[in-house]
């Protein structure tokens, strides 16, 4: 330490260091961390599902059939497929192709909306209500929370599409597309786990 007045800081101006190529944006990192915490919630719900299952003599409980697979399998494909136009759209805008951006977003939106539509249909036809028993509660809550995430994603998709159609995104600046696409892929990835756990695994025991 210097002898004179160490309690006042002396500074000297220097040239800034040289730049590196741009890494991920703060928004991207932000959504990554958000995905980590949201993913943990789904992990917790699936753990709850398997914990309740392990504590039960019969699962699903007596009088409840294992979930039917045909329709939901189709719409699982529909939902997972909705990620493909997003990849295509994001790669497109990275090269400045507004057309690809807009088309990809729109197709993905329609596929996602179809999935949600089927979920509403399925809810109307479920033989058990939310409060009937623990199996019903965890089934409704897990698929319901996922459905809310799909709904939120569709809402964000509309906003991003509005930005896309008003020319706010470019090859250099399309951060909202990067953030949205990560989120949407996350929603699809979660569905893989939810589908496997809640729909497939009861048929495997």
């Amino acid at each position: 330490m210097t002898a004179t007045s160490p309690q006042t800081i002396q500074t000297v101006i220097v040239a800034p260091p040289s730049a590196r190529s741009r890494g991920r944006s703060v928004g991207w990192w932000g959504i990554v961390v958000v995905i980590a915490t949201e993913g943990t919630i789904f992990l917790g719900l699936l753990s709850t599902y398997f914990f309740l299952r392990a504590s039960s003599p019969r699962w699903p409980p007596a009088g409840v059939a294992a979930p039917e697979l045909p329709l939901i399998s189709v719409f699982t494909v529909v939902l997972l497929a909705s990620s493909l136009p997003i990849f295509w759209a994001e790669a497109g805008i990275a090269r400045g192709q507004q057309g690809r951006l807009r088309a990809g977003l729109l197709v993905s939106f329609l596929l996602g909306a179809a999935f949600l539509g089927n979920q509403i249909y399925e809810y109307n036809h479920l033989e058990f209500g939310w409060t009937d028993h623990a199996y019903a509660s965890i089934f409704w809550t897990t698929t319901g929370l996922h459905g809310l995430h799909v709904l939120g994603g569709l809402l964000i998709s509309l906003v991003v599409q509005a930005k896309a159609w008003s020319g706010k995104l470019s090859a250099e600046h399309h951060e909202s597309m990067q953030v949205f696409s990560l989120y949407w892929h996350f929603v699809d990835a979660v569905w893989i786990f939810v589908f496997s756990s809640l729909y497939l695994s009861p048929h495997l025991q």
């Binding site: 006042t8 500074t11 260091p17 703060v26 932000g30 958000v34 809550t141 991003v160």
Partner: protein, 636 residues
């Protein structure tokens, strides 16, 4: 203000102040997004909750000072111990550490604000609205009364019919949003906004601790959100998660709760230890010994703490083999704490210690944490825990670690950093007196509780019979707790007196080593007119004079110097060595974070009152806020 050898030819400093200052008065109060103002606000709000929670403890101690007192009815006592615990964990310890992080983190890494300043404001508003929501339960005579942990089935609608537990469940889930978004902010800020040259290897240990804190929050808080959330679904809507007769599980609640609950206590300890790692070296006049060991220990604690939660459930009848696994891991977690402990000792041993008030609190912390850690190891020993759990032995242990090993560092941090924050020194004499009163009072209050546990005194009882021999020790505990409270009061008085009459603080009153001390006290709104260039772990000790970067010609380097400050921007850096990447515009102050938070609060109240319209309105507002945010991403 820091002196520079080359002044920019551009505008006067006063104009710089204008660019960065908040709107005045009430509008400015609601619209600020300045991390320092938000951090201060967090700290002061938390101390209000600390005082309220502390007074509740003192009233409980009056009830327990002797057998069969009638100061409190059983229902009042049960409300007090529930609200005391919930307040101290959710409304004091966790947010005050976030508040210090808010204030200090950007300054320590040499930047001008957080990565998401509006989100930062939002996290404060959620916190304070959640606290108000929680305490409004008293206004309708329905304060939560199921314990801070709220085990089912006691907290199911069948056994807790009123609104009491709904205030708890909704409040806990709500305040978790604040903690979580705060963690997002800390992580992204640390990754992307460090001063150039501040590689991970040169991060102040406090910044490491806030990184570990934040990652732990990200992965732990979802569990308590689920515990409280599913409990509320059972209570409000009749689901069956925790109802054994409907296929639910009582223990499921405990697993979810403690999966968060155990990491939570390390979420509290890690930043406290980080603060101590900043303070001891300054008052030993030498760098922290074993920097890499200490950083690695913090990370290790972060990981291991997720593997021990069942040690809170040792008496629940699970098979001994499963319990033994968790006992083993609970023993192992003592080692990284031990490593840090000896790093601190080694630092003092090889240094020259100055007995300032912050250092006294640090020493007090060491002596208290040593005991709390030891009793923690004891209760990790499964069969011993079968006697100790749910007795006053645990009350002793938990207060030695959550009061002693977290609150003493908070007071050390207060005495250390308040001069920087307020620009005024605190009174050393009053500080010393406060410390000794707190230290003596603390040990008188909590040490005898170990013995009471051995005498068979269980937790959470509002009274006890006269023939049991518990009276004398309980009286000592009560006296000690009042002494501790007096010590706290002395610090609060110190803060008030300092505000009006404290000596002006220089830039670096303690001759410390890290970047937050390279500003005036208090700092200007923009923190650094020119961002420092870091080449050491201890910039202010090793780099004299401190190099600060001028603005460069391109987008990546424009924000560094005064030109960047004038444009209300801050640099974005990245990579292991924090090289320049781009420029980030800091948003203008806005009330939208407050509006968004208030909207969510309305939704929560709607859930409480089961008023569908209110709930939907609040949720709709939340959706609007989300859409607005997405619209604004990437604006330049």
């Amino acid at each position: 203000m820091a002196t520079t050898e080359v002044r920019p030819a551009a505008e006067e400093p006063e104009h710089l102040e204008e660019i960065w200052e908040d709107d005045p008065g009430v509008p400015g109060f609601f619209s600020t997004i300045d991390h320092k103002r938000i951090g201060k606000r967090y700290i002061y709000t938390c101390f209000v909750f600390f005082a309220v929670g502390g007074i509740m403890a003192l009233v409980m101690r009056l009830q327990l000072a002797g057998s069969e007192h009638t100061v409190l009815s059983p229902s009042a006592y049960n409300e007090l111990f529930t609200v005391h615990g919930t307040t101290m964990i959710f409304l004091f310890n966790t947010p005050v550490l976030a508040g210090f992080g808010n204030y200090l983190l950007p300054m320590m890494i040499g930047t001008r604000d957080m990565a998401f300043p509006r989100l930062n404001a939002f996290s404060y508003w959620i916190f304070v609205l959640a606290g108000i929501f929680f305490y409004s339960s008293f206004l309708v005579d329905s304060a939560p009364d199921g314990g801070w942990f709220a085990y089912t089935p006691l907290t199911d609608k069948a056994y807790s019919a009123g609104l009491n537990l709904d205030f708890w469940g909704l409040g806990v889930a709500f305040v978790g949003i604040s903690t979580t978004v705060g963690a997002v902010n800390f992580i992204v800020t640390t990754f992307k906004m460090r001063a150039p040259g501040m590689s991970l290897n040169r991060l102040p240990i406090y910044v490491w601790s806030m990184l570990v804190f934040s990652f732990m929050v990200i992965f732990a808080v979802p569990a308590v959100t689920l515990a409280a959330g599913l409990l509320e679904l059972d209570r409000l809507f009749g689901t069956a998660f925790f109802v054994p007769k409907a296929g639910g599980s009582t223990l499921l609640y405990q697993h979810l709760f403690w999966f968060w609950g155990h990491p939570e206590v390390y979420i509290l300890f890690v930043p406290a230890a980080g603060m101590i790692s900043m303070i001891i070296p300054v008052f030993s006049r030498r760098p922290l010994a074993g920097y890499l060991w200490v950083a690695a220990s913090l990370v290790a604690i972060g990981f291991i703490s997720f593997g021990v939660w069942v040690h809170h459930m040792f008496a629940t009848g699970m098979p001994a083999l499963a319990l033994s696994f968790f006992a083993a891991v609970s023993l192992i977690i003592a080692i990284p704490s031990g490593v840090q402990f000896f790093a601190w000792i080694a630092t003092m041993w090889h240094g020259t210690v100055r007995f300032t008030t912050p250092m006294l609190f640090a020493l007090g912390f060491l002596l208290v944490f040593l005991l709390g850690g030891i009793t923690g190891v004891m209760v990790a020993v499964l069969p011993f825990d079968w006697q100790a759990t749910d007795s006053y032995f645990i009350v002793a242990h938990l207060h030695y670690v959550l009061n002693g090993a977290v609150v003493f560092p908070i007071f050390a941090a207060l005495y250390f950093w308040l001069p920087k924050i307020t620009g005024r020194m605190l009174n050393e004499r009053l500080g010393h007196t406060s410390f000794w009163t707190m230290f003596i009072g603390f040990n008188l209050a909590f040490f005898p509780m170990h013995i009471l546990g051995f005498l068979g005194m269980p937790r959470r009882i509002y009274t006890y019979s006269s023939g049991l021999g518990w009276d004398a020790l309980n009286l000592v505990v009560t006296l000690g707790s009042f002494a501790f409270g007096l010590g706290v009061l002395l610090t609060i008085i110190n803060m008030a007196v300092s505000h009006f009459r404290g000596a002006r603080a220089p830039d670096n009153p303690w001759e410390a080593d890290t970047l937050e001390w390279a500003t005036s006290s208090p700092p200007p709104d923009y923190n650094f007119e020119a961002v420092p260039v870091v080449a050491s772990r201890h910039p202010l000790w090793d780099q004299q004079p401190l190099p600060v970067a001028d603005s460069g010609p391109d987008d990546a380097t424009r924000a560094f110097g005064p030109a960047g400050a004038h444009e209300h921007t801050t640099p974005i850096t990245g990579g292991l060595r924090a090289a320049p990447e781009t420029t980030m515009r800091i948003p203008e102050p806005t009330i939208l974070p407050f509006v968004f938070a208030a909207g969510l609060a309305v939704f929560v109240v709607g859930l409480l009152a089961q008023a569908l319209v209110v709930g939907v309105a609040g949720l709709a507002l939340g959706m609007v806020g989300l859409a607005w945010w997405v619209w604004r991403i990437g604006e330049h």
